[in-house]
Symmetry: C2
Subunit: 250 residues, 2 copies
């Protein structure tokens, strides 16, 4: 059995908790959170919760799920030594964790919102550790919930995280722009959903370059000019111009 303590109970640890609590071979020993978590919820009814960092229980792995900036000072403040402490961030180097402990990373490459359930089975879990035994433990822990556990060092993980920002945060902002354009016309955003879905599905079988279509790709300047005219005085014009320039050169 792998004994786990959660340090922080934000978005990501909340989802990890749900996934790991139904995994065989995992015992969630405790949840620490600076502010009180709603321990009356059925989710936490069988797990001890604490706001007192001095009362951490013994475990095989401590999973930090707090804002990136807070990871280094928080890990330094932990009153435990020589334990395996991992963070769950894409953008934080493993070396930012305090060296009072054995250090590791357990980064599920996915976007998490409290309102949405996620299935971890296909989510890549990127693991890293200072020593081989800890890496093996993290691999076992990852494999309790995902079929896609990969060892990736911090430098590569940051690049993966950068790519994730492009295909998630920035893509989602383009959805927001599309939604705004339709809202102004009193057209429902639903009209775009089959297109959004097909765009994401297409790259399961085609490379993004092979999947590309549209006026910029076919250098259809007449349509581009019509669009630019609609975007006069809009903040979105700069996006349109930048993408169009890039796509014409592909």
């Amino acid at each position: 059995m792998i004994h786990v303590v959660f340090l922080g109970f934000g978005n990501l640890n909340h989802h990890l908790f749900i996934a790991l609590s139904s995994a065989k071979n995992v015992v969630i020993k405790q949840v620490f959170n600076r502010s009180s978590v709603d321990s009356s919820s059925s989710l936490l009814k069988n797990v001890p919760c604490t706001q007192d960092i001095s009362k951490l229980m013994d475990a095989d792995v401590y999973i930090i799920g707090i804002p990136d900036d807070a990871i280094a000072p928080f890990s330094e403040s932990l009153p435990i030594q020589n334990k395996l402490i991992v963070h769950t961030s894409g953008g934080v180097n493993m070396s930012e964790l305090s060296n009072n402990s054995r250090r590791g990373v357990f980064y599920p490459l996915q976007t998490f919102s409290k309102q949405r359930e996620v299935n971890f089975k296909n989510i890549p879990i990127c693991i890293e550790a200072e020593n081989v035994r800890d890496l093996e433990l993290l691999r076992k822990l990852g494999e309790c919930i995902s079929e896609n556990v990969v060892g990736i060092i911090s430098e590569k993980r940051l690049k993966l995280h950068l790519a994730a920002v492009f295909v998630n945060n920035f893509v989602n902002h383009l959805y927001a722009i599309g939604s705004d354009i339709l809202n102004k016309e009193n057209l429902p955003f639903d009209l775009l959903k089959p297109l959004i879905s097909e765009t994401a599905l297409k790259i399961e079988t085609l490379s993004p370059k092979a999947a590309q279509t549209g006026p910029a790709r076919r250098k259809d300047q007449k349509t581009i000019d019509k669009h630019l005219k609609l975007l006069e005085n809009s903040d979105n014009k700069e996006f349109y111009e930048l993408f169009t320039k890039a796509l014409k050169n592909v």
Copy 2:
């Protein structure tokens, strides 16, 4: 029965042909294409094909599927009069069709690639016509293949098309950037696919604004600076800066 002639057999008409050929109440009378189409393919074996524009058969609706720029002159050159001629483009005003004929638009809002089958059932088909009877005919034709037929005038359709460019062409370019970043690290693009899929699924239940996460949204300048450092000397830096500026202001 609705009798249809296809004018042009590019990507979109190819897919429309497949969908309409299995629809009840539709007879595909003929396919015209300037260059020869492979009429030996099983797809076309029961449909007369011609490269001679003077030999068009009689039909209820003629569906133009050719590049946007060519639509106006081509419709002017058609040797038929007072027939219902529709184009299938998002960005071309209905009035660009020759007024020798009754004009209309039959625009399926989707991205089409020859290599990928599409299911028309959920695809919005945006229709427009000069007179009510033709609009009714186009609605009937659309409903043979889709549950989502909507009447939209040219001016609104152009805005819908603009929004589609943002959520499809530009989104796909972000996928390409993500893919390039991973390629350089010898990491498989597959690592990003669950994230891409979840990003598209999320907005089925959350608005894009509610779904937004990431360093720019939470104003995590430390992570942003790490990413910008990785993008030094990259064409993609401009994209990163533009999105980050926009997301910080959301």
